[in-house]
Symmetry: C2
Subunit: 445 residues, 2 copies
């Protein structure tokens, strides 16, 4: 049966790309794949794909090219560098969907390079994805796509094939807007991945049963999508399976802090996470699952001699762990929303995307609307505060920080979050005495 | 020859206490020492001291007691706990000089305990010291003494025997004020000790000759007293001699952050340092010299694969190291001065003490007066700005943070300092567009 579906070139068949490309094969597309790692191409052929030996060969006569390499450097190499680069070989008017997570600045630069190379005809789509390898293979990713209207229209069917119908976000703002949307989502990811290790490491210092601690968190206001997905791997004796390497979230983290520096925006939470990721990398944990960073947190457990904990019961100890996470999630939500506002993104779209994706947390759901209202208006009263009072969250967080200090347990994110709430209180309007916790968003400016 | 000098009891003959007590012996005092570690008492006898087997025995019939134990817990034990405690055995009207570094809250509580035990007659002096073992033995310490006028008068000669004439600070505010003064000084110490490791670890990632880097820093605006004293030990192959253990500065660091939490004051710099100290403790570095924390910073060097540094020349790389330190010292100065203002200390005295003690740095000297002027007035223009523009310091710091990110080198304090300057810029008055760097102090409230 001859397919009326257009042929697709797919560059980059890693954990995500392989699933995405294979899904397109299953949907009846003829997909020509390219990857630098030859065994992957053999696997792809076994799944019904075609294999090319260069990017140029892959895209020859293809009206659509999906690029899912790991970094901006790799995207630049396969698209534009050398005689086997894809772009010169693309037919005129072809669509290029860049699905890699790259800095906004890179994809905007790529658009300029296409124009400079007299290939402004190419319909570039800035379309980073989220959701992990399973959803990639299932065609149910979240996709954040920014591009010209024409490029979006040309590529919409393909974006739909790869995404969940409810999770295809067309982001206003053209090229760069998709990457910015992904980036602000990753503020939550970067902090909440590490918060899982931090909270469980703290639970270990407290002498808690970690499985019980994890179950308690998941049933509490300290829960997050990341905690639910990372905690089983953090508690696996060998941190298995390696579902997402530390180097991957570190790459996204560095995109956030570098883009923030470029626009002069402070990212105290994400920068703290980045420093801990660097420490993990230095220890040689880069290739390991990111949940394995719990090793950085429980290291001193029991070494510092007998310490009298003030929290004696399991219930009291579990409350400290939940209080720690609530404080961290409050501040990661604030950093995400304040950064999104600074970048001019549609905050309602940011919020909807984040609560339905890997960045979701109970705190974000509770405080997000108030935070959005606070950064949209200037100095006006909050919209509809739904979260706990700031004092209540701060008090829970402070109890956790007090106890961690007593146990000499590092809690980088929790300590940072507490200081941020203090800075927020130092700068909040005098009229906001009984503020709800969303007011912390004002510390970012 | 019979001495007309009063007999002294001296409790706690550790690295500092031994030198202080021995100095008093040399000055002609009859000093009765007590320490839980018996060999120390033998050494003290060899130096001409007398030895007691309990605190109570040491203080019997002594009108003066100096207490130089390591912690508030130890002070409480030797002064008040059990049948051999010192306080019940002290003659009426005796002076107790508590020279240990303890929280303000503890020494104020001690004053209340004395009153409750019907020993309000004791002339308590809150007199923490600074300067290290050499100056202790030399009788040239810095001493920050807070007490009633009567207690100060009674003890002045003894404070003078132990201190440099120019470095005896009588701190207004009574019991607790001396400890607060020491504490705000230790904000600088806690950050600048760690900054030495951070800067030299960064220099290692940059591929610099570390001795040359240290020499350059010492001749630059990135210099500090701590850097001068720590860098030789950080560069010693075995981090020798062990002049000050990591556990000691960690103890002081935790006093700062705990007291700050008690009054709701944010300490983003010191809290960051504390988390790194906890990490070092977890690695087993607690008993080692604090300069050995450079190990936490250079760990990943060379592991992350070839990275193209943008700084190619030694001169450019050295400038990055200096830029890093200037940024950190700017923010540690801000945290010190803002905290001192919050505690109601005499800022001129704080500044004079700090620039002449272990907390001194070129940045503090340059920006301290402007910072003091900014926190004293409310919203008014700065007094006499002497430092670089904020933009200049931030730009140097940002280049260092950019390069560290490229090298995947952790720089916890530098990253935090950069974010604080960004937060400061977000909150500074619109009229302060061309602000000098001291304006960063406003971020604390």
């Amino acid at each position: 049966m001859a397919s009326s579906k257009p042929d697709i070139a797919f560059i980059g068949l890693g954990a995500m790309g392989f699933g995405m490309a294979t899904n397109l094969v299953k949907q009846g597309y003829t997909v020509t794949g390219f990857d630098v790692w030859a065994p992957t191409l053999e696997r792809f052929k076994a799944e019904g794909g075609l294999a090319a030996t260069t990017p140029a060969e892959a895209v020859k006569d293809k009206d659509y090219c999906v690029c899912m390499v790991a970094t901006a450097q790799q995207a630049q190499a396969v698209l534009l560098e050398g005689e086997n680069a894809a772009v010169p070989a693309l037919p005129r008017g072809a669509a290029v969907l860049l699905c890699s997570t790259v800095p906004c600045s890179y994809v905007q630069e790529l658009e300029k390079q296409l124009a400079a190379a007299d290939r402004g005809d190419i319909q570039l789509v800035d379309a980073p994805v989220s959701g992990g390898a399973y959803r990639a293979a299932d065609g149910t990713l979240s996709i954040m796509a920014g591009a010209s209207d024409a490029a979006i229209e040309k590529s919409r069917f393909l974006l739909q094939e790869m995404s969940d119908p409810a999770k295809l976000y067309i982001v206003a703002g053209g090229i760069g807007a998709g990457s910015n949307m992904k980036m602000v989502h990753q503020v939550l990811a970067a902090n909440q991945i590490l918060a899982t290790s931090e909270a469980l490491g703290f639970a270990a210092h407290l002498g808690l049963d970690l499985k019980k601690a994890a179950d308690t968190v998941i049933g509490s206001q300290g829960k997050s999508w990341m905690f639910e997905h990372r905690s089983p791997r953090a508690l696996h004796p060998e941190f298995q399976p390696i579902a997402s390497a530390t180097t991957i979230i570190l790459k996204d983290t560095s995109i956030i802090t570098a883009e923030a520096r470029r626009v002069g925006f402070p990212t105290p939470m994400t920068s703290t996470a980045e420093q801990v990721y660097f420490t993990g990398l230095g220890r040689g944990y880069g290739p390991d699952d990111d949940s394995s960073l719990i090793r950085l947190y429980w290291e001193g457990k029991g070494k510092v001699g007998p310490v009298a904990a003030t929290a004696q019961t399991d219930e009291a100890k579990l409350a400290l762990v939940v209080g720690l996470l609530k404080g961290i999630h409050l501040c990661s939500a604030g950093e995400c929303i304040a950064f999104a506002a600074r970048l001019g993104l549609d905050l309602d779209q940011v919020f909807e995307l984040c609560i339905n994706a890997a960045g979701g947390s109970a705190m974000l759901e509770a405080v997000g609307p108030e935070m959005m209202s606070l950064v949209k208006t200037t100095g006006a009263a909050a919209g509809s505060p739904a979260g706990d009072s700031l004092d209540k969250v701060v008090s829970g967080l402070q109890e956790a920080v007090d106890e961690a200090q007593r146990l000499k347990a590092p809690i980088f994110l929790g300590s940072q979050a507490l200081n941020l709430t203090r800075l927020a209180m130092a700068h909040r309007p005098k009229t906001a005495a009984a503020a709800t916790s969303g007011v912390v968003v004002k510390v970012w400016g």
